[in-house]
């Protein structure tokens, strides 16, 4: 013993040390502020209110009621006879009953306007894994996916980190309510080509996060034509499809494919999850629905790395096959979300803040650009800082969603009680009054 010998540090991989996980962006910085001083109705009424988490807590009671009245769902029957097979079941095909229940639930959400076959359902532990898995399957490292802006900040990590695939933005702006135009699509494609990057797919979120709005039918038709012309894929992340305020306003790409008799369908893949619509993100339930046989086979094999617990599959299979329950749930959930949305929109309007006209999701897309001193990213972040630290609301700045226009913010309204939402609105009122005085 005696002197210390310098030990060479054992190296880690590039993936491990890269910053692509994106957890240093403001999107996550706001969360830190919340974690350090979280709002609580009783114990910490001056804390930061979390409005940056798209979680659906408005319909829990319906789930609880179901489980209460159907206790066999959460068990394997008296004496647990089905338990043996279930405990050992790790087949990546997943429980047939569960896949069938998921397919049927997805049909119900779309008002029966599209058919889903259980054998095309691939199960993953959450939509996060589904999106990453599809990226591994559709693109090689160095290739690109085209994604319309603004988009969910998590995509930077989910689609790029381990896959080595790039995201090329399709720029959308407020002049047409952030809709995807053919010009923007073509421009994005050209931009990728200019960098010698092969475009493999367009990835859309419908209904959109963070816009909180469904994509119009004509835009979807256009998108399908575009990807067919370019011979690339279309991934439609439809995890908010059950959170559309009115059923008739949502058009899934599945419906359009059916109308076209599935011509060119093998390039289309839908991602779904129970995290948003059913408010069960902790359960880790996601799916890939693909019209491409090879993608289904490959995704199934790859899903070995992200299987859903057979216990959870068993538990949810009975719940989701109960058509009476699911119909009632979908309708009630929609209604409650719409009520919340109206509450926040009216509240914001009354103090002069406009939002994008939305019709879905767990958030609204708020326009605060009139308040910006400088209409730049820095100006937006300054305002955001004030909102997080003075108003004590964690909302998501548009720049973290890669929005090309500064001043927009995503504000979540479904992860709290109505009372808390009222408190948040009150704080915004006071903030706006203070600003008017200055």
């Amino acid at each position: 013993m005696g002197f210390e010998i310098e030990q060479p540090c054992v190296e880690l991989s590039k993936v491990a040390v890269s910053e692509t996980h994106g957890e240093d962006s403001p999107y996550f910085a706001g969360w830190k502020a919340y974690d350090e001083n979280p709002y609580d109705e009783l114990t910490n009424s001056s804390g930061v209110i979390q409005m940056g988490l798209a979680e659906n807590q408005v319909s829990f009671d319906l789930l609880e009621k179901y489980l209460e009245e159907n206790s066999e769902a959460s068990t394997w029957g008296k004496g647990a006879p089905g338990f043996r097979e279930n405990a050992l079941f790790q087949d990546y095909h997943g429980l047939k009953t569960f896949r069938t229940a998921m397919a049927s639930f997805m049909e119900q959400i779309r008002g029966g306007r599209a058919k889903f076959f259980p054998d095309r359902v691939v199960l993953t532990a959450g939509a996060t894994a589904a999106n990453e898995l599809l990226t591994f399957i559709l693109a090689n490292p160095g290739d690109a996916l085209l994604v319309p802006t603004p988009y969910y900040p998590g995509f930077d990590r989910d689609l790029r980190w381990r896959t080595g695939v790039n995201i090329v933005p399709i720029h959308c702006d407020s002049s047409n309510n952030f809709q995807i135009t053919p010009q923007a699509l073509e421009a994005a494609y050209q931009a990728a080509e200019a960098k010698n990057t092969k475009v493999r797919a367009v990835l859309i979120t419908n209904p959109s996060n963070p816009l909180g709005a469904t994509i119009q039918r004509s835009v979807l038709e256009n998108l399908l034509d575009f990807v067919t012309r370019k011979n690339i894929h279309l991934v439609s992340d439809e995890i908010y499809s059950g959170s559309v305020f009115s059923s008739s306003e949502f058009v899934s790409v599945a419906e359009i494919l059916e109308a076209r008799n599935y011509k060119n369908a093998e390039r289309v893949h839908i991602v779904y999850s129970l995290s948003k619509d059913l408010g069960l993100p902790g359960f880790r339930v996601g799916t890939i629905y693909s019209y491409n046989d090879k993608v289904v086979t490959t995704a199934r094999r790859m899903s070995s790395f992200t299987l859903i617990s057979s216990q959870t599959q068993h538990l949810l299979a009975s719940m989701l096959s109960d058509k009476k329950f699911t119909e009632n749930y979908i309708e009630t959930n929609r209604e409650r979300l719409r009520k919340r949305y109206n509450m926040i929109i009216e509240g914001l309007k009354s103090v002069g803040i406009e939002c994008l006209k939305g019709n879905a999701g767990l958030f609204c897309w708020m326009n605060m650009s009139p308040l910006l001193e400088k209409k730049t990213r820095e100006g937006e972040l300054e305002l955001w800082n004030a909102i997080v630290h003075e108003v004590r609301l964690n909302i998501s700045p548009g720049s973290s969603c890669h929005c090309s226009e500064p001043g927009w913010f995503r504000v979540c309204f479904a992860n709290m009680s109505e009372e808390t939402l009222e408190v948040a609105l009150e704080r915004i009122r006071s903030f706006m009054e203070r600003i008017k005085k200055e």
Partner: protein, 525 residues
């Protein structure tokens, strides 16, 4: 693929042919040279045909990349449904013009590993004592069915309270949880592992990242410790699943370090050194060693000395060690299992290079529930693994259930005592019966399988002979066992036979079926 074949117009056919096309092309040039006279003629006679061939190849390559047909792969999966009005969809689905990635193309091919082919054969015609007594008996999957009754009883008694809590309140488990696992479960797992590994090592919950099974744990560590194109050294024979976990998405290569029957397949440091230097010579960067201890498929345990030697080796080369210890609780012999973590207490050892993988699929028979653990002493690895665990998190209700089960210390103790006894019983009986048939097994003291030497039954003494024997077992005896070649064993004729998927009472049936094959081999020799 003949020398004189004219280039066909079908891109798929050409894709398959191209590798030999250029060599067959060159074989045409030499005679051409003879035709042209004189030096200048010789030069032209060489250059011109060469140029022609090169341009032809270039043209073909371009045509191939625009046409790009992935030849329809005969899938071993059940075919997807075809309804009358959807015939377009299915027909189109298998011959698509749109490309998928290189990785996907590789994975979508029918599985060549007999390990997986065997599993598939069982699924098409699975044995069932009453419903299908002539079906294929599964002895190729290391699942432990011996103590499922105990777990089932516990679940029947405790489930409602443990999953959704009293009052069926799902509020706690519904929302987003930390991706790398609930602290309560980490603590429960830490205690459990302490018990399982002989009570001589403590795992700090803050050094743990939970994942949906041990499979993603291995993959995540591969992503963290090595870059694409790097390699891990792995002693053979090894668990066939490693080829998938390490190579597929992380793109890390596995370099075999061959172990031999003369050493009872124990790892030899000299062999490790050799494999390492050979890799260096080839310009391959070795980033770590991947071991399974207790070993799968052999079932032996690493001695403390060997573990120290491994650590010294890793120190010297400055590389990582991944120790897959999923069978730690499935020991039955007199030898005591020593976890790699146990010997890390020396001052001179750099703990940051050691990473342990564990899970509940084997020791607690809960493969369907997907509960795996990464234990690392490297803060950077933990930080990266925590973030990556978002892609493979354990379902919250399952975390609750398992936490509850693991916290029932009395149940766990009883389970282990019984499990150990039952595995030992079945193992001893099975190995004894095999030896009466003239089949010897490697000395093993852990795991759910025996490593059987059937080299006397294979003709020729090669991988081909081994595969033929494997096929005989499937078609004549209707049992699925894993051939050593799938485990990259250097000596032909070894087979892994799992015995925890059958009952003690079913052993005579299995032995009888094996006897059929043994006799058929003897009579044909």
């Amino acid at each position: 693929m003949t020398q004189t074949r004219k280039p066909s117009s079908k891109p798929e056919a050409r894709e398959a042919q191209n590798p030999s096309f250029s060599s067959s092309g060159m074989k045409l040039i030499v005679p051409l040279q003879g035709v042209v006279q004189g030096r200048g003629g010789l030069l032209l006679g060489t250059l011109v045909p060469c140029a022609l061939f090169y341009f032809l190849q270039l043209y073909l390559k371009r045509r191939r990349s625009t046409a790009n047909c992935n030849p329809p792969s005969p899938s071993s999966e059940p075919t997807l449904p075809r309804t009358s009005s959807r015939s377009n969809l299915s027909a189109r689905g298998s011959i698509s013009r749109v490309r998928i990635s290189r990785l996907a193309t590789q994975i979508s091919r029918p599985d060549e590993s007999l390990y997986y082919v065997g599993l598939d054969r069982v699924s098409r015609d699975p044995y069932h004592a009453l419903d299908n007594p002539d079906g294929v008996i599964q002895l190729g999957l290391a699942d432990n069915k011996l103590c499922l009754d105990l777990i089932g009883e516990w679940v029947a008694r405790n489930l409602e309270d443990s999953v959704v809590g009293t009052g069926l309140n799902i509020n706690g488990i519904a929302p987003y949880q930390t991706y790398d696992g609930l602290m309560e479960l980490k603590m429960a797992l830490s205690d459990f592992m302490h018990q399982v590994m002989g009570e001589s090592v403590k795992f700090d919950p803050s050094n743990m990242v939970l994942t949906a099974g041990a499979t993603p744990a291995i993959e995540i560590l591969s992503f963290c410790l090595a870059d694409q194109g790097n390699a891990f050294l792995v002693p053979t024979p090894y668990y066939p699943g490693f080829d998938r976990d390490v190579r597929w998405r992380p793109g890390v290569d596995l370099i075999p370090v061959h172990c031999r029957s003369a050493d009872n397949f124990n790892l030899n440091i000299t062999a490790l050194e050799q494999a390492y230097s050979q890799a260096r010579k080839r310009g391959v960067k070795v980033r770590g060693i991947l071991i399974s201890n207790p070993s799968n498929p052999v079932g032996n345990i690493m001695t403390q000395d060997m573990l120290y030697s491994l650590l010294d080796f890793a120190e010297e080369k400055n590389i990582h060690i991944i120790a897959d210890e999923v069978f730690a609780g499935s020991t039955y012999g007199s030898e005591k299992f020593v976890s790699l973590a146990e010997i890390l207490d020396s001052d001179y050892i750099d703990k940051s290079r050691v990473h342990i993988v564990y899970g509940l699929s084997k020791d607690l028979s809960l493969a369907g529930f997907r509960v795996g653990v990464i234990c690392s002493f490297n803060d950077s690895v933990l930080a990266a693994a925590k973030k990556l665990s978002r892609f493979s998190s354990i379902s919250a209700p399952t975390q609750r259930l398992v936490t509850s089960m693991l916290s029932d210390k009395r149940f766990i103790r009883e389970y282990f005592e019984t499990n150990r006894k039952r595995i030992q019983q079945v193992h001893d009986e099975f190995v004894d019966c095999l030896s009466k048939l003239g089949i010897k097994c490697a000395k093993s003291c852990a795991g759910m399988y025996c490593w059987a030497d059937m080299n006397g039954l294979i003709r020729p003494y090669s991988e081909k002979g081994e595969i033929e024997l494997w096929e005989k077992f499937l078609s004549i005896a209707k049992i699925n066992i894993t051939p050593g070649s799938s485990c990259h064993c250097i000596e032909p004729g070894w087979f892994r036979i799992c015995f925890t998927t059958i009952t003690l009472e079913e052993i005579p049936l299995v032995i009888e079926r094996i006897r059929r094959v043994v006799e058929s081999c003897k009579s044909s020799s």
